[in-house]
């Protein structure tokens, strides 16, 4: 029997869960998805998706961890041994995401150094692709390792290891800085942005509603996808975090707080992003459509270009990259903690040793993403982990618990311990609405992939980086499930 770590307080748990949910996607994905899908009108399907899929599934993941006091695979094993593999699959997907997420954070370290003027190579827009990445012509041309990216990767894993090795008590302390700090910095960036010419026009593009988009199925699909990816669902993180709460801790209100904080941050981040994009468009005399980019291009090309044109550019730049780092680090270490919790529960190894092994492995695997072809592989793996990884896990969780284990048992426990009671609506969302939405997303992705190869990459690259990685994760998950039974844990 082993002692289980505990959060120092409910506040620490909520901050950690909010930190996990709020990540780089809130800054560089949500505003662009909203802009491309009806502007302000997108917020309507987004809130509907939050209430009908995001929050119900979050309640499910929290309740599994809280009730069974184990990580995702252990909790699912306790529900039924047949479900354990879903948990390992989830941790495999999450771990893979952490391997390249740490690389993106490594780039942020490099750009932070640039902001202090210590590295001259990031002065122009092409610097990211040419100087930092050394981007080659395609995924088959590996090129050379980018040493600045590798150094950033090493710094990220060293930090993750330092935070995770001491368990959730240290995590609880770190998130007291890494959750409020990016919010404060983003407020300062927004104030800076709003004082620039063209900012209001940028905001108009973000917020002006196009209600005709609500009749388009794609808008609703994007809303469900955004909610699902943003809330850290399907990674096994939330179950692991909830397992460190004492039994009888609240579930539903914690889920509502986490979800509203995540959505509120994403909505707010859109103001900071589009005010600066409006400024950039006006300064360069181009339509805003020409400067709207999502993902790494926004953070490492468009935003640095805009900041270089501003008065007080170095200060704004430092604030922006510290925002990126603090946004990313708590999401990154939450994924690692979810995986480490699973390994520790199963193999009786210490937190420190599990964190060390995982960090070294993550660093070594991440090296592939620091090569000249790394960005292509990152893009392919990211697409498959999201569309065929997390979404499939969410669907299987709903089916396993909703249709086989039974929502009634979990609901009884949830209602015993929570500030808000869940009713029949939760059963309906878990058994019908969420699986249908996620199933629709999977079918839609498959249809799109049959129509057109993703990103116009060669088929072999999609087979290796996409289906190949998914297959390896499933095989490893099946192997781990078979290899050894779970040990029992006791309440701390």
């Amino acid at each position: 029997m082993a002692h289980r770590d505990r959060w120092a307080s409910r506040q620490a748990f909520i901050m950690a869960a909010v930190g996990s949910a709020i990540g780089l996607g809130n800054l560089w994905r949500f505003p662009m998805v909203a802009y491309a899908n009806g502007g302000g009108a997108f917020l309507i399907p987004y809130i509907v998706a939050l209430m009908t899929a995001g929050i119900p599934l979050m309640i499910l993941e929290y309740s599994l961890g809280s009730l069974f006091q184990k990580s995702s695979p252990g909790s699912l094993h306790s529900a039924s041994p047949k479900f354990e593999m879903i948990g390992w699959w989830a941790l495999g997907i999450g771990s893979t995401i952490s391997f390249y997420y740490a690389v993106v954070m490594g780039w942020s370290w490099d750009y932070l150094a640039c902001s202090f003027g210590t590295l001259p190579w990031c002065a122009d827009a092409q610097a990211f692709f040419d100087n930092l990445l050394g981007l080659t012509g395609g995924p088959g041309e590996i090129g050379h390792i980018s040493w600045p990216a590798l150094a950033g990767l090493a710094a990220t894993w060293a930090l993750i290891y330092w935070i995770i090795k001491a368990g959730v008590l240290r995590v609880g302390k770190v998130v007291m800085i890494t959750v409020p700090l990016p919010a404060i910095l983003l407020v300062l960036i927004l104030i800076r942005g709003l004082t620039l010419p063209g900012a209001v026009q940028g905001l108009a593009y973000y917020l002006t509603p196009d209600f005709s988009a609500l009749t388009n199925a794609k808008t609703w699909l994007q809303a469900y996808a955004q909610v699902f990816f943003s809330l850290s669902l399907g990674f096994g993180i939330l179950t692991a975090y909830a397992s460190y709460l004492p039994k009888k801790s609240d579930i539903t209100n914690n889920a509502f707080i986490t979800s509203f904080a995540d959505a509120g941050f994403a909505f707010f981040a859109g103001f900071a992003v589009f005010s600066v994009l409006g400024y950039l468009a006006q300064t360069q005399g181009v339509p805003i459509q020409d400067v709207v980019r999502g993902g790494p291009s926004l953070a490492f090309v468009i935003y640095p270009t805009a900041m270089s044109l501003m008065p007080l550019a170095p200060i704004v730049s430092i604030m922006f990259f510290v925002t990126l780092l603090t946004l990313g680090i708590d999401s990154a270490f939450s994924i690692v903690e979810g995986a480490v919790a699973g390994l520790r529960d199963k193999w009786r190894i210490s937190q420190q040793r599990a964190a060390l092994y995982f960090s070294i492995f993550g660093f070594l695997v991440g090296i592939i993403f620091t090569t000249g072809a790394g960005l292509y592989w990152l893009d392919i793996v990211d697409r498959w982990m999201n569309d065929y990884g997390l979404v499939v896990i969410g669907l299987m969780e709903c089916i396993a618990i909703g249709w086989f284990y039974g929502t009634g048992k979990l609901k009884k426990y949830i209602n015993e311990v929570s500030d808000f009671k869940v009713g029949i609506w939760w059963d309906i969302f878990i058994k019908w609405v969420t699986p249908l939405a996620l199933g629709w997303a999977i079918v839609s992705s498959i249809v799109n992939d049959f129509k057109e190869a993703y990103g116009n990459y060669p088929t072999w690259a999609l087979m290796v980086g996409g289906w190949g990685v998914v297959a390896v994760i499933i095989i490893v998950a099946a192997f781990i499930t078979k290899v050894k039974p779970f040990r029992e844990t006791e309440e701390g």
Binding site: G39, G40, I47, L203, L207, T208, A261, D419
Partner: protein, 38 residues
């Protein structure tokens, strides 16, 4: 910025931040009640 953009910004902001505020308030109240019970 057109009035419809202002309306959307205020409406969505109200829903998200009021929702968050109410939930946090309930959590704080419950925590205090539990501490007093102890």
């Amino acid at each position: 910025m057109p009035p419809s953009a202002w309306v959307m910004a205020i409406a969505i902001g109200l829903v998200l931040y009021t929702g968050l505020g109410v939930c946090i308030r309930i959590a704080i109240r419950k925590s205090r009640e539990q501490q007093e019970e102890k």
